[in-house]
Symmetry: C2
């Protein structure tokens, strides 16, 4: 019937993830666990359209700007440009800001929301970077001020999320932007922004590279440059960072406030049952000079350092300043779900045999009327047992081979009142009242 | 801090749905129930990128073609047109066909999949029509042939889905394309396609309109035209359609096959525990002449007839003929989730007071150290009780008012070892071992 048809061979589109059904089944299970986790802490879900107005998305400028996808009707009439002004979102923070501003009067604050959704960037695809990818974000927003207590909650919840996703070899690097800016202020560095930008490169260009850059670009003398870089070298898994900073001998109000805040957050993380040595103070991290104003977080996956951060975030003072004349501070983190899960799939860490969620297959036996087979199926489903009725009159051997192929564990033979466990190869009396699926 | 900033007032983008958090919480609960339902019948989830190659999407032609959104980088370099060829999907059937063809060798057949996902159409927004909307599709595909048993399973599962969504006043109109084409063949009508297209308008132009059109456009004599229209008038909730068709006196092999198939499907639907009189034979429905080849389904919501169908589908013989030289028949239905749920929200049928999933708020009491509050929170969450710890030192009245505002039912006072039920206003001893959340 397909003679003479032209055949288009379907192939993957670069930069877009797609899973086989058995992997998707596993992934959906994770998403459901993540939703439960976030709900268990009182976060509500939101979901926004995947498009936002282009003017809003493009306001950020810089690199992201070039990566924004606009949507256009392939064959729009010339007089209809109603879509011209919208584009696909590149993160879930811009939609959050717009959402909070737009629905401000109907939101119950503090607004604790989670959002698991697709984002889009026209990046050159590479390992761990996709053109469509899923982020899981949690944020807490409150007009005027947000309790510091939430700064400790956020990384604890994200840590639980990463545990659910099933990775272990990662570290939270935590700092507080006030420490760095207070310290630089205390040293009378004039161009805070430039100094921070240079310090942010310490991972790439090293301590000496930073010192040279500070000397060249900011005309600091050697002693001053060395003093600046000292703060960025402080890293510890306990509260000793406070003394280490004080020993540098700089006094500044913002610095002290930052130390106090970070000390509170680290105390909470250390006394939590989740304390596992992976919450580490690292005063070199900055995470965006303009946006974050307090605690900052960055999670690296030691197994795949080239992926960059797999989760990140922090505290900000002005979420929605472009939309609303209110101060809307918040604190949150974003987890790069596609980046993490895509790597787990790619590396073979997720390998699943079960090609269906079905627990029980009811064999089709010609001696039993079809209605009874389906009634039995309905009864099993009512007991939360995923059940298929075999779909036609067929040899028992073929029916068993269908169950094997999809790794369905139990086959019920209604005429015999028996069930076969394909894993143990045992066959025994089937009693619907007492039957249980082994896990 | 926001002085002198220009403010962009955020407003909804026409044709794109967005819910308040408490509605989204309810909707997400439904989605989770739907996933459980589909899984309980052995369907696996798939999720595909929201884009497909434009050549694949545009192959269908016609109206849909004009509504396809392509994506373009807002500021692409001239030499990089790697995105130029992809567009947003307008349904979940094209992605299914491409997916099955692409992953053919790794799929376990019969392939029973469900897909809940966003689709995009550049339509003029109107009641029940969105530019981004969510469909829930179930399909069963098997190379060469698909058991007729599935033709009865599909509407039963979709009926369960509609029950979960919470609507009741709807009817499944069911037919079999073979009946109509066999009947027209038996009457020696030459232009089957034109005759079917005219008959499909019976809802709009009525019986007389159809007869006139058949006379005018196909040059049928009055008697023939009247004979043609008779088949489209047959509608019943039982098996009497068989006799009604036979009484028309047309004999044709395809017609008989269609009657036999539809009889089997209706028998299964009638003997199901779900039989509720809403499965109705209606021989006037056609659902796309080229695509469907057997059973066809169309669900109308009597409360909102102007919405058109809220679920529809049928049996097709050639899912992926453009991609693969195999016959890939299947049967499936698509549920218009956004259309239905959007209307429920709009009409006020879904009104929720609870602004959070939280069951228990642990009061912040200065006499209790913060660590103990959080440890208690972790213990309650471990018992599947959604719990928030209040976030700062505050007057008890303010803490109770927070719980009231978000409709959190229980407030625990750790210093007193007591819990207050805000619904019953009772306060009693809090014992974490025995504490339960009333539902």
């Amino acid at each position: 019937m397909n003679q003479k048809k032209s055949i288009v061979k379907p192939s993957p589109i670069s930069g877009f993830l797609e899973f086989m059904p058995e992997i998707q089944l596993h992934y959906d299970g994770l998403l459901s666990e993540l939703r439960k986790l976030f709900s268990s802490h009182g976060f509500v879900p939101i979901d926004t359209p995947v498009v936002e107005r282009l003017e809003i998305l493009a306001a950020k400028g810089g690199d992201v700007d070039k990566e924004i996808y606009t949507i256009t009707r392939a064959r729009a009439n010339d007089d209809d440009n109603s879509d011209a002004s919208v584009a696909l979102r590149y993160d879930l923070t811009v939609p959050l800001a717009r959402y909070v501003a737009q629905h401000f009067n109907n939101i119950a604050f503090p607004f604790k929301r989670f959002h698991i959704g697709s984002c889009f960037r026209g990046e050159r695809p590479q390992d761990g970077r996709y053109r469509q990818f899923t982020q899981a974000d949690i944020d807490i927003i409150n007009p005027d001020n947000v309790s510091l207590s939430f700064d400790a909650d956020i990384p604890l919840i994200v840590n639980s999320a990463l545990q659910i996703i099933g990775i272990d070899n990662y570290v939270f690097r935590i700092s507080n932007r006030k420490i760095l800016s207070g310290y630089l202020e205390g040293l009378n560095i004039e161009n805070l922004q430039a100094a921070t930008r240079i310090l942010d490169k310490i991972d790439k260009i090293g301590r000496h590279g930073v010192i040279s850059a500070l000397q060249d670009e900011l005309q600091l003398d050697t002693q001053k440059a060395e003093q600046v870089v000292k703060i960025a070298s402080i890293s510890c898994a306990d509260l000793s960072f406070v003394d280490q900073v004080l020993e540098l001998g700089v006094t500044n109000g913002t610095l002290e406030k930052g130390l106090e805040e970070l000390k509170y957050v680290m105390e909470r993380l250390q006394t939590s049952s989740q304390n596992s040595g992976r919450f580490v103070v690292d005063l070199s991290i900055t995470r965006g000079f303009d946006y974050y104003t307090g605690t900052v977080y960055e999670v690296k996956w030691n197994d795949y350092p080239h992926l960059g951060s797999i989760a990140a975030g922090g505290r900000y003072e002005d979420l929605a300043g472009s939309y609303i004349r209110k101060s809307l501070p918040g604190v949150g983190m974003s987890v790069g779900l596609s980046r993490i899960y895509g790597k787990l799939v790619q590396s073979g860490a997720i390998a699943i045999k079960k090609k269906t969620p079905t627990d029980v297959l009811i064999a089709w036996e010609d001696s039993i009327d079809e209605k009874s087979l389906h009634t039995l199926g309905e009864k099993l489903r009512a007991k939360n047992i995923n059940t298929e009725v075999y779909f036609k009159s067929d040899k028992i051997q073929k029916q068993l081979s269908y169950a094997n192929k999809k790794a369905i564990r139990y086959v019920v033979f209604p005429s015999l009142n028996e069930v076969k466990d394909l894993e143990s190869e045992e066959q025994y009396v089937f009693d619907i009242e007492t039957f249980k699926v082994s896990t």
